[in-house]
Amino acid sequence: MPSSDSQFAQSDTPVIKIRDLVFRRGDRTILDGVNIDIPRGSIVAFMGPSGAGKTTILRLISGQLRPDAGTIEVNGHRVSAMSRRELHRFRRNIGVLLQDGALFTDLTVFENIATPVREHTDLPESLVRRLVMSKLSAVGLGGIEERMPHELSGGMARRVAFARAVVLDPDIMLYDEPMTGLDPIAVSTIRTLMRETNDALGQTSIVVTHNVSQVRRFADYCYIIASAKIVGEGPPQQLTDSTEPSVDQFMNGKVEGPIPFHYQPPGAAWGLLD
């Protein structure tokens, strides 16, 4: 249930603006000249084969990694130029749901969700409690606050992690493979939560995934990243119907195509010649 096109078109200045982004790891180029605009209020999906650098973009946006060239602007501020203190304030407004949730295994569900609140605010304990409990019931898990993470099922843990990510009502949400390894019911729960929270709080969300069938049901716009470049972009339906070979290969799951099935290490050709 993507939001209407009119709402999508309204947003004039993009929340996240990426220009000519280059990122290398060793002598491997992970991202090479990437340009992305993400408008306010939208849910944008990054798709592509494993290892194509989707997660790297998330880490660049959150300021964990610094680009080798190019700029990333969030709300008009350059992430790579932020001081430690600015980054601290910046991250308060970003919610991140990592792969597998990454709940703190030594803390209860309640303390997990309360951790960002305690770190970024000085709210009295009663308000912290009320805030945590409201988020917990928003994800449909009221009453499990005293359990430990290892006592939860995969889907429950992911929902708790979701509650933790949105507890401070961030403007921007980053999701790294939010639906991987979940059963179909949990997948649609997470999908519904993402869409509803995004629209209710006026958030902007970026979702890294390779679940093509789900993307059609929640994303407003898609980027397909392969071989360090953006090979296709557009609303999901348009991409599915695309005839561009890379996009077609990925969206429709074909083995044959321009995206290589075999991993090609840098200098592989040299290895053959030696």
């Binding site: 803390l107 209860t108 303390e111 304990e125």
Partner: protein, 157 residues
């Protein structure tokens, strides 16, 4: 974590237990408990033989420790052992004709100095010497004296 009083209580118990163990060790199993305080005065005594009396051995009156042996030295002229003792200042009314003897706790125990208060009106002060002394009884000499009646007495009044 926040409301986990059980954990806080247990770690508190652990801390207290650890500190208790340290205090117990220090006072029961080292010479720390033998300390007699900061305020002390020094007296000395000469003995013909101190046996295996050691530094920091206790000085007692009536079995109660009032001081420690500070140093044991040999007078190069008279060949007597000069024992300097520091005594807690609160025991400052020890008569000047008090006697000192090197005694043994138990049959084979450690040596200590036992003081036997006299009746003189003036008291021992810092730097004074005790003149009435009795040397250590050296067990070998006692035994040989008893067995062969030939022991050369190491004792001297």
């Amino acid at each position: 974590m926040r409301a986990n009083y059980k954990v806080e209580f247990a770690s508190g118990v652990f801390l207290l237990l650890g500190i208790a163990a340290l205090v117990w060790l220090a006072t029961r199993a080292t010479d720390y408990g033998q300390d007699i305080g900061k305020e002390t005065y020094t007296i000395s005594a000469r003995f013909a033989n101190v046996g295996d009396l050691r530094n920091r051995a206790p000085v007692k009156i009536g079995g109660v420790t009032i001081g420690l042996v500070e140093s044991i030295a040999l007078d190069p002229v008279s060949f007597e052992a000069v024992v300097r003792m520091s005594v807690a200042s609160r025991f400052d009314e020890i008569p000047s004709d008090t006697g000192a003897s090197v005694l043994t706790s138990g049959v084979l125990g450690d040596r200590y100095i036992g003081l036997e208060p006299g009746g003189a009106p003036d008291m021992l002060a810092d730097g004074d010497e005790i003149f009435i002394t009795q040397s250590a009884i050296v067990l070998e000499q006692v035994i040989s004296k008893y067995m062969f009646n030939t022991g050369t007495g190491g004792d001297k009044e």
